[in-house]
Amino acid sequence: MKTMVKASIIKNLEIAPGIYEMILLSKELVETGFPGKFVNLYIEDGQHLLPRPISICETDKNQQTLRLIYAVIGKGTKKLSIMKEKEEIKVLGSLGNGFSVGRGNGKNIVIGGGIGVPPLLELVKQLEGSKTVYLGFRCNPILVEDFKKYADEVYVATEDGSEGYKGNVLELMEQHQAKGDMLYSCGPKPMLKAVADWAKENNIDGELSLEERMACGIGACLVCTCKTAEKEGEDWEYKRVCKDGPVFSRDEVIWG
């Protein structure tokens, strides 16, 4: 069930250069905030019309809070970043199809890149069995300590070598001879494509969370489509990232 709520902001702070953590108080959003789903944040300043789709990083049922981690990438997210504690924000959620927890046989590989890392935290919290997490960043890793609370192993790579392995997340996985029977990933498209190829070569089932520019966020406007396989008589079809995704099966996505 999707609900539109006015949620009060408990916290909105910069946790790394250009990366913010926002904590919202909302019982309704917590109830439906499954791993991999997202919420629409409305800025309501008369200038920025479109909602900002932000993935859910973590939910806390006891505190009834929703944790969001977002990057300031334009004027809209800049506006979000200057909102203060105790202010209210209009939120629609939870949206999209999240990860399916428990699809494998209990040996999970979780791979995150950059601002694609946050939605994997709630997933790792809820996954059963063994959990090996590989996180890649350009620099300034985030959430590493949080992942360590719930995962068996957490490995970090930075492109500038400032922390952990110097290189990308695929090289990091190779170094640690990553193994498992189910893979979950979120990150930039080139990384996801490489992860999908790796999973295919190693014959590992997987789910990937995609990002695309959106307008409505509920599946009506057909703005955020991605190319996917299947459909009788057609080589490919466009699916909606907001409604059919953002999580897709690794063999479903066609990389353009």
Partner: protein, 303 residues
Amino acid sequence: MIKPSLKINIAGVEFKNPVMTASGTFGSGREYGEFVDLNKLGAVVVKGVSSVAWKGNPTPRVAETYGGMLNSVGLQNPGVEEFVKKDIPFLKQYDTKIIVNIAGKTVEEYCAVAERLSSEAVDMIELNISCPNVKEGGVCFGTDSQMAEYVTREVKKYTKQPLIVKLSPNVTDIVEIAKAAEAGGADVLSLINTLTGMAIDIHKRKPVLANIVGGLSGPAIKPVAVRMVYQVAHAVKLPIIGMGGIMLGEDAIEFILAGATAIAVGTANFMNPRATIDVLEGMEGYMKQYGYQEMKEIRGKLL
């Protein structure tokens, strides 16, 4: 005080109120049914339907701009057969009128869709001769008065329902096109479609949209839309469905005062899934505030 009636009649079709959805912003209503009671809407105007499935343009298909947005979806749709099979039965569950927007690359294609829908439970057909995002998506018909008259006349031969012709604002004189559609036999005019625009990402030095250009919508275009409705209303006898940047009931009333019989809510749906109902309530509020009983008391009634 008696509650005002927002009922209207357009080309012989009764609508419970003048609030419609702008084609392409509301799908076939399914997604919005979770937020609004579709029974409360005057009509659902569905996303453009062509004779066969169209895949649309590559992404990014959207760019936000000051007080508006550009889109270049490119009329992605599953084709008329799929639409008839899935969406008409869905919409028939509701007590609202169904208006189907039709798209084509050729006159024959428009006629084929119109003919296919003529025996279906559709209340009106909206002829899209103004989509700026598909080269063949009709805009060549919408920017030339002879072509506009010709395609209207041809499609009219195949429709059993009243025909709305949706006009493009990307012309020197919209009145000329409006008159051509009237001469071709249109029953109703709807205006405006989006204004062609462009946005550039200065950091990548590339257009934001994969299609380079797209259609501008949202409150940024409302003054242009109101002006065009006003001009057309004074030049033709046909009823008008006005649209372009309507966010609130007050915006909708502007269009009615400019001469529109009905209005459509488009981009506002993206900012507020309940926008259609908010607009309707705002219109009722205005009617009550000034003690008007019927829409005709204010339609085109500028002092």
